[in-house]
């Protein structure tokens, strides 16, 4: 059957390209993992590039994990990530839904306001002053609130909400449902893909939180993971004239990358299953 052949060729093409993309992505990942468990001398001996490790050592990981500040920093990061992402999603969703209702008066104004902030910013010093006047300096909330909503994510969510069929809302309103109920009981379950996506973006953002921490917080016990990791790595920024400097090897650097990004890498495959089609199926007919 011609149809079957065409289908199979198409599939073959798809798989080929995908495998190619995977390879493009995989070799640097292998590189990072391999270098993180190979003693640095060995790394250098192979011209600085290792794909398959032969000599394995876990000293880099040991060094990092026994670093006195790390466990506390880890706790802080987990806390910020969980609480922060929850707040992010709620605030973003609450904004995106009304903005997706095309007949809402004032909608354009608010949208313009949001887009404007994507492009214009007051700068570091004024933002710091505001955060200070709100009393957030040196508090854990300084790492959550000043960036609680990302305009980009609001716009994406809004775009998705706009794509939901209008009949859905009409039938719900005819049934007498209030807007809040519609939002939470109808729209949300149907928007799982976008919620997962935006949630992922916020989650990764929090996990990698660095700048806001050192900018607004001086209490070391509140420093998140990435700050501690960066400290271990940042030798190249120190004056070279300082003999006391400890130069971190590539092995150490790669190990820190693994530690910092591993949990997030682990989360993603679980989220993937929510990217399935057919969420809308049955909602209108049912």
């Amino acid at each position: 059957m011609v149809k079957g052949l065409e289908d199979r060729l198409f599939n073959a093409l798809v798989y080929a390209v995908l495998v190619f993309c995977a390879l493009l992505a995989i070799f640097p990942i292998l590189y990072v993992i391999s270098v993180s468990i190979t003693p640095f001398g060995e790394v250098l001996r192979n011209g600085g590039f290792i794909l398959i490790p032969r000599d394995v050592t876990l000293t880099a990981y040991k060094t990092l994990l026994t670093q006195s500040n790390l466990p506390q920093a880890f706790k802080v990061t987990v806390l910020i990530t969980v609480v922060g992402t929850a707040i992010n999603l709620v605030l973003t969703g609450l904004m995106a839904y009304p903005l997706s209702r095309k007949n809402l008066p004032g909608r354009r104004l608010v949208l313009l306001m949001i887009v404007f902030t994507l492009i214009f910013s007051g700068g570091l010093i004024p933002t710091y002053l505001i955060v200070k006047s709100v009393g957030l300096i040196d508090s854990i909330w300084a790492m959550i609130l000043p960036n609680a909503i990302w305009s980009f994510n609001v716009l994406i969510m809004k775009s998705f909400f706009e794509g939901l069929p209008e009949e859905l809302f009409e039938s719900a309103r005819i049934d007498g449902a209030k807007e809040f109920r519609i939002l939470f009981q109808i729209v949300t379950p149907l928007s799982i893909p976008v919620i997962m996506t935006i949630g992922l973006f916020y989650l990764v953002g929090h996990w990698n939180e660095f700048f806001q921490a050192i900018f607004y917080v001086t209490d070391r016990t509140l420093f998140p993971l990435q700050v501690i990791v960066r400290e271990i790595l940042m030798q190249s920024q120190q004056p070279l004239e300082n003999a006391d400097n400890i130069t971190p090897t590539q092995t150490l650097q790669m190990a820190s990358v693994m530690i910092a990004s591993l949990p997030v890498l682990v989360v993603y495959p679980f989220i993937q299953k929510y990217f399935t089609k057919g969420m809308l199926l049955g909602s209108i007919k049912g």
């Binding site: 640095f40 001398g41 354009r108 570091l124 505001i130 030798q235 190249s236 920024q237 003999a243 400890i246």
Partner: protein, 526 residues
């Protein structure tokens, strides 16, 4: 959106922003606020008065005072594991709170923002630029009237360094005691032996050896995968070469025959460039030399790609470095090399005498809290006391991290616990003795590097004039010199290059300012 609508909404937005501005302006943004107010202001009178002479904490009958210090640095342990902090807390009756920033940029942001918001730390590191800016804006405490309370410090760092912290004659910052030079050429001894060559003593010999390293397969692996010379960009690899011609690094200013000279205008610069061009043309120099913006040249040396590298001894001779070198090739052996002799003699590059490895300032606002101010002075005096705090911040706790053998100090194997102590060396340390005590196996390398003659340059004393964009001129200089060195631009055009530099890049502004400032300091007028 119709243009009217756009106009309307833009107007609305602008008014929103202005409204916001008005509200926040009235609210919390007025600067000139106070430094972290000390909770123990209801002090017994004794605390303030008896401040001056004694280097140990004086008359502190009152509560612990919180001191906040910020600087760049890394690897500071958590407060409950910070031995040095605990000792300082005890000795000075303070709650020492040090925050270090791994990245210089992050630190700059933090410092700027705290200066701008009135949330001043009690002591902070800053560079010359910031020193000038902040002092001009009245943010720093003028230390000149307090110098009698900082006698220990002045003694420790020396009169020269005290001056380096001054702007327009007033002392606004405490400079750290001076460093010593670390860099020299390092050369692969085993490669020399394998090719039956001697350590080069002149620039001609340097060329021969570099070429041999490139063409004659010194690592004997049958592949032409080595080259002679590398370093940190042009100035890094050829520092001793510039020196051999009596020229400082490009853009540096120094005294020659009693007059002030800028290296670029030194007549010998063209000769130096001609030599460099020749050497590069032979193919004996790292083809990616100009991309060695960090430590790539060290890596190339370790990997066995380069045979001669201009670099600092810590990055070549510390234990973990040796391990890496040997891991790649157990027979590799690097030795230091004296700068090769040229028409002007032997000089291992330039050495900035106007610089200081760091400086710390106190916010002007702190004068409202005399007790805390005194504690800061106490701290500075304490870490400058060779019999007291200085030893703590250099080596740790006596008995635990080091022992005294008469006058000599010997590190114990627990010394590693306080490897971060340099973060507390607010006034620096006596370089030579410190390094030789802490890095015993490298003592010879340290001395060798320090002993080499160098051209003393004065740029650290020059403050950039208004309207001069240093980065544009610096870029132009780097680019054009690279072109001359790589034969992309004929050396005959050198004077044209200078002309463009002076006019289009406004270098003349810089030269005039340097001339004026340096002569005022007494240079170049002999």
């Amino acid at each position: 959106m119709s243009s009217n609508a756009i106009k309307r909404t833009s107007a609305l937005l602008t008014s929103l922003a202005l409204l916001g501005a008005a509200v926040s302006a009235c609210g919390g943004s007025k600067e000139g606020g106070n430094a972290s107010p000390s909770p123990s202001s209801t002090q017994t009178a004794s605390a303030t008065g008896s401040a001056s002479a004694s280097p140990r904490a004086s008359g502190n009958a009152g509560k612990k005072i919180k001191l906040e210090v910020i600087e760049t640095g890394n690897n500071l342990p958590a407060p409950d594991q910070d031995i040095i902090k605990k000792e300082l807390d005890k000795a000075l009756n303070v709650d020492f709170n040090l925050t270090v920033y791994a990245s210089g940029d992050d630190y700059k942001n933090q410092l700027n923002v705290r200066m701008a918001s009135g949330n001043f730390p009690d002591l902070f590191a800053l560079d010359r630029q910031q020193l000038i800016e902040f002092s001009k804006q009245g943010l720093l405490l003028d230390l000149t009237p307090y110098m009698d309370r900082l006698k220990q410090v002045s003694e420790f760092i020396g009169e020269e360094n005290v001056k380096k912290g001054a702007v327009d004659g007033k002392v606004y910052a405490i400079s750290k005691s001076s460093q010593i030079p670390y860099n020299t050429y390092f050369i692969r001894k085993d490669w020399l032996e394998s090719l039956n060559l001697q350590v080069p003593k002149t620039i001609e010999e340097l060329k021969k050896v570099a070429v041999a390293f490139t063409n004659d397969d010194p690592d004997k692996n049958g592949k032409k995968d080595t080259f002679g010379l590398t370093g940190g960009e042009l100035n890094g690899a050829f520092a001793p070469v510039f020196g051999a011609f009596g020229v400082g690094s490009p853009g540096s200013i120094y005294e020659k025959d009693g007059k002030l000279v800028n290296a670029l205008y030194d007549p010998a610069m063209k000769d130096a460039l001609a030599y460099i061009k020749d050497l590069i043309a032979t193919g004996a120099v790292d083809p990616e030399l100009l991309a060695n913006t960090a430590l790539q040249h060290q890596e190339k040396a370790f990997k066995g790609q380069a045979g001669i590298v201009w670099i600092d001894w810590p990055n070549m001779t510390k234990q973990n470095m040796i391990e890496q070198i040997k891991a790649v090739n157990p027979n590799a052996e690097w030795i230091q090399m004296e700068p090769p002799a040229g028409p002007a003699g032997k000089f291992d590059g330039s050495w900035e005498i106007g610089n200081t490895p760091g400086r710390y300032a106190i916010p002007k606002a702190l004068e409202k809290d005399p007790e805390k101010l005194q504690r800061v002075f106490d701290l500075l005096n304490y870490v400058s006391d060779p019999k007291g705090g200085s030893l703590l911040v250099q080596f740790g706790v006596e008995g635990t991290h080091y022992t005294k053998d008469g006058d000599k100090i010997v590190m114990t194997d627990k010394a590693g616990e306080v490897g971060y102590s340099w973060l507390y060396q607010f006034t620096g340390r006596p370089e030579m003795s410190y390094l030789q005590t802490k890095f015993v196996p490298q003592a010879d390398f340290i001395k060798f590097a320090n002993d080499q003659p160098r051209i003393q340059t004065l740029n650290g004393f020059v403050d950039l004039p208004e309207g001069y964009i240093a980065s544009d001129a610096d870029r132009y200089i780097k680019e054009e010199l690279a072109k001359f060195a790589y034969g992309q631009r004929d050396l005959g055009e050198y004077d044209k290059f200078l002309k463009t530099l002076e006019t289009t890049m406004k270098y003349k502004l810089f030269m005039d300012a340097a001339q004026a400032q340096l002569t005022a300091l007494g240079y170049g007028s002999k």
